[in-house]
Amino acid sequence: MPAFTYQKCSDLSQAMKWLAEDKDTFLLAGGTDLLVGIRGGKFKARQVADIKDIEELKILKEDQKGITIGAGVTLNEIAQFEPVQKNVPILAEGCNSIGTYSVRNRATLVGNICNASPAADTAAPLYCLGAIVKIAGPGGERQVGIEDFFTGPGQSALKAGELVTAILIPKPYPQGKGVYKKASRTRSVDLATVGVAVQRWGQEVRIALGAVAPTPVRASSVEKAINEENVTDAAQAASLVEKDISPISDLRGSREYRYHISKVLVRRGLEETEEVCS
């Protein structure tokens, strides 16, 4: 492991101070991307600032605004949180599809989106839920919608010195069924070749995909066909997804395969959530 210094942060201002002092400071939450990345040479860290035990980042609560998930909360804690299971099970499904049980004991939701992989498994569910990303930085606090947070592979809307404090899943919650469908090379530990979230909102549907474009994307063409043009045939609607995606070929699958499997998973997602919409 390449050498770096380690700073344990007990509050947010400390974390921001380290970020401001040295631009080669990396925040450490669960470390499941960061430590692998440092060891593999992807991240050149001079300093690591550990934020996972900061009290205010451990917040996991439901109130009149919705569900707030702090940056220190792990994927297993989220998937087991009753308001998540009850109101937005698609998010629990996304969390549970990541890695292994022991990885999820460390990995955080905020780490998953800050890593900004186009294949991040929580992204598509968060797109469907209209999640809001809460950010703190030298200029104060701000928030951005999840769809504006991802800006490219490994790139997010975070500016120098900023960090994510929490994600809000806003009310009203969707009325209707949601599923997250993941195609990967093995049934156990692998990133998504394609990930598809389908969430019914009453008569309407929201669909998002991961690993098929530089960022996660909404399937706007499919949504429009169903929500506005009264297309009821799932296969016909799903075939429109090719307008919404621009996949590449890599070790997990070819571009052609990704086009194909995207249609298949969107169709299955529509079929599996269908009964609730009528």
Partner: protein, 154 residues
């Protein structure tokens, strides 16, 4: 540039204070400093589970944790399961069911199994698969491992 950090923690019930390089993984620290070599090194990237330990009672991949993160926490390794020279019941069940061939994955398997049985004394096949999703056995002793865990259920 990398001055050592002082950390205080308990390991298998004993209080300890040590100096660690900031970039050392918990796995390296356990094996090379604490000399507890029951915890194994496999992939070093979180995929195999040979390095599984309990950190504040939760199973984690010690290759994905820094030794520095151990400060103030409680660590249990495979060596900490036996009490008064007697093996823990999960360890015994693994022996009774011959739940290994080479044994390299076994410490990690037993750590995950122990944690599972503690939070769920009567796990289904599905619960077992989910809880051990991070433990690979290249010898393929999965069926025997499953039987050993079932034998420990209530």
């Amino acid at each position: 540039m990398t001055e050592k950090l002082t950390i205080s923690f308990t390991v298998n019930g004993m209080e300890e204070k040590r100096e660690v390089p900031p970039h050392q993984t918990l796995l390296k620290f356990i094996r090379e400093e604490l000399k507890l070599t029951g915890t194994k090194e496999g992939c070093e990237v979180g995929e195999c589970g040979a390095c599984m330990v309990l950190l504040d009672n939760i199973p984690v991949n010690s290759c994905l944790v820094l030794a520095a993160e151990l400060d103030g926490k409680e660590l249990v390794t495979i060596e900490g399961l036996a009490k008064n020279g007697e093996l823990d019941r999960v360890q015994k069940a693994f022996i009774d069911h011959a739940a290994f061939q080479c044994g390299y994955c076994t410490p990690g398997m037993i750590i995950s199994a122990r944690a599972l049985l503690e939070r769920n004394p009567n796990p289904t096949d599905e619960d077992i698969s989910a809880a051990l999703s991070g433990n690979l056995c290249r010898c393929g002793a999965y069926q025997e491992i499953r039987q050993a865990i079932k034998a420990c259920s209530k």
